[in-house]
Subunit: 321 residues, 2 copies
């Protein structure tokens, strides 16, 4: 069953795309290598559940991110029959060549809105990152592969604190000037808040109206789905999430990473927003992901079950109140 | 620092009361008895952090809820100098007498919106519960103590599934007819959703306009703060929460219970809504609560720290992206 079950919340879009990033953003922070066939099974399970857009891996240096060293093999094993759009991060020309050879559907280039995070993450200034994208765009263009643009630290930087909205607008304009208009705003360390979501969505809508924005929130401070709520009220129709809440935060060892895909789908269903995803199947994939990772994941719906799961009156002892 | 730091979200109230229920709703599901002096220290820490309304215990039978058998002793140890309003659950006349003797500021009567949950929880029909409240109201009145009314399973019942809005309206009217207009809608097992919040707040506003509504959400399915978001847009100014997310769900052993007080305060701060609570102090109390309970609590901000906590660039290794 993939139908939204709740009464539609006024002001929310009618339909939304859920973009799964667990296989990339979730797994990349896992220290134990997840076998390639388990990764493929995870992605195929997500596609079976109705997800139609997935960031499946990253064509970064295998030395930098050993977990994703099997990028091409993962891609080769994924079920392409359902028409799911498979994307991967591509940091440089070398990665672009590998991604094109592996048959990726779209390449995602990425840079940070804050200079210090960009330096830390890719060892380049923001200007150097933008320069480097020209090669990727050329390689992708020759292979007829679209390029999407991600903006990390869009809502705050763990080194600098607040990030001015002008930094996001400038990068979005630079992306547009390279022909990249499918963008995502990354909440890299969980600093997004509802008013920042409003502010940034409105500023981009005015400055770069041709941009198609996805929002990528982390639940590091508990407000991930509240930020989605704010984004829905701004009319944003694409949201990135990670199955089970797979992943974490490099700055807070016990904190949560990406918002959880099945909790997002549960909220969308209950708010009358169609996502085309089957929540029951998604919960099964989430539990399988937990088994693969071998520890409890932060997803809530996978533990509590669907909303209308009812119990026999002898099933529990309740305390008063 | 207790000032709201974020840009005020249009449509949200300017100020909100945060009602701490961890000492009652959180602790009552803890199997290990928490020593009375630790409970008192917890409540006093919360008051020091700026909380001005707390549900501190329950005058239920010590056999039914052994954890709260020290209700009077807890109340005797709490700092009353700051003017915090201390409430307690009161299930019957005997509890009302004990609560009055112990010097409670307000008694909270409670019943479920669904018949089967009320039978399971207090072994009475809803009609019998309402009848029993007359004695409590009389005892409280003689002691000049106000009575508040809670409605459990206001957003769904674990035995019956959906709960019709008419059930909530009927109970709110019955409460009003007894002079009880300070109400709370309890999301007992985490079944609240944003459209249900909208529907129930609007129905109560029309049917019982004199009612002052508090919302009591559980984060069992991850959407607790999204439900607060919906409530704020409905103009609701009172929210119940549990420090650290203390507590759980009797139906799902690993699932979360009440929404977390400091995550709520974080969201309010960032949305420009004044709560009068100092987030940094609250985080300290939350970490103390975790130490008392001896296991990791679900609160997120207590793990990640405040939003603008920044890091040195050598503090972590970041993976690409």
């Amino acid at each position: 069953m993939t139908a939204a079950t709740g009464h539609h919340v006024k002001g929310f879009p009618e339909t939304v795309s859920v973009i799964e990033v667990g296989p990339r953003d979730g797994l990349q922070s896992e220290p134990e290598f997840v076998p390639t066939d388990r990764k493929i099974a995870l992605v195929n399970g997500l596609i079976d559940a109705g997800i139609r857009h997935l960031e499946v891996t990253s064509f970064v240096s295998p030395r930098a991110v050993p977990q994703l060293r099997d990028a091409a093999d993962v891609l080769a094993g994924i079920d392409r029959s359902k028409g799911a759009v498979l994307t991967a991060l591509v940091p440089n020309a070398k990665g672009a060549v590998r991604a094109a050879e592996a048959g990726i559907d779209a390449m995602v280039v990425f840079m940070s809105a804050s200079e210090s995070h960009n330096l830390k993450n890719v060892n380049r200034t923001r200007a150097q990152s933008l320069e480097g994208f020209a090669d990727i765009v050329r390689i992708a263009g020759e292979a007829n592969i679209p390029v999407f643009g991600a903006i990390a630290t869009s809502f705050g930087c763990p080194f600098e604190g607040n990030v001015p909205v002008s930094a996001i607008v400038d990068i979005a304009r630079a992306y547009r000037d390279m022909g990249i208009t499918t963008l995502s705003l990354g909440d890299t360390t969980g600093m997004a808040t509802p008013p920042l979501v409003q502010e940034r969505c409105r500023a981009l809508g005015e400055a770069v109206p041709e941009a198609d924005i996805a929002l990528h929130f982390h639940n590091t401070r508990g407000v991930g789905l509240a930020c989605v709520y704010a984004g829905l009220l701004e009319g944003v129709t694409r949201y990135e999430a990670s199955i089970g809440g797979l992943g974490g935060c490099p700055f807070a060892p016990n904190a949560t990473g990406n918002i959880c895909t099945e909790d997002l789908v549960y909220m969308l269903d209950e708010c009358g927003v169609e996502s085309g995803v089957d929540l029951d199947r998604l919960i099964r994939v989430s539990r399988e992901a937990e088994a693969v990772i071998g520890r409890t994941l932060p997803g809530q719906v996978m533990k509590a079950g669907p909303r209308l799961q009812t119990y026999g009156m002898d099933s529990v002892a309740t305390a008063n109140g």
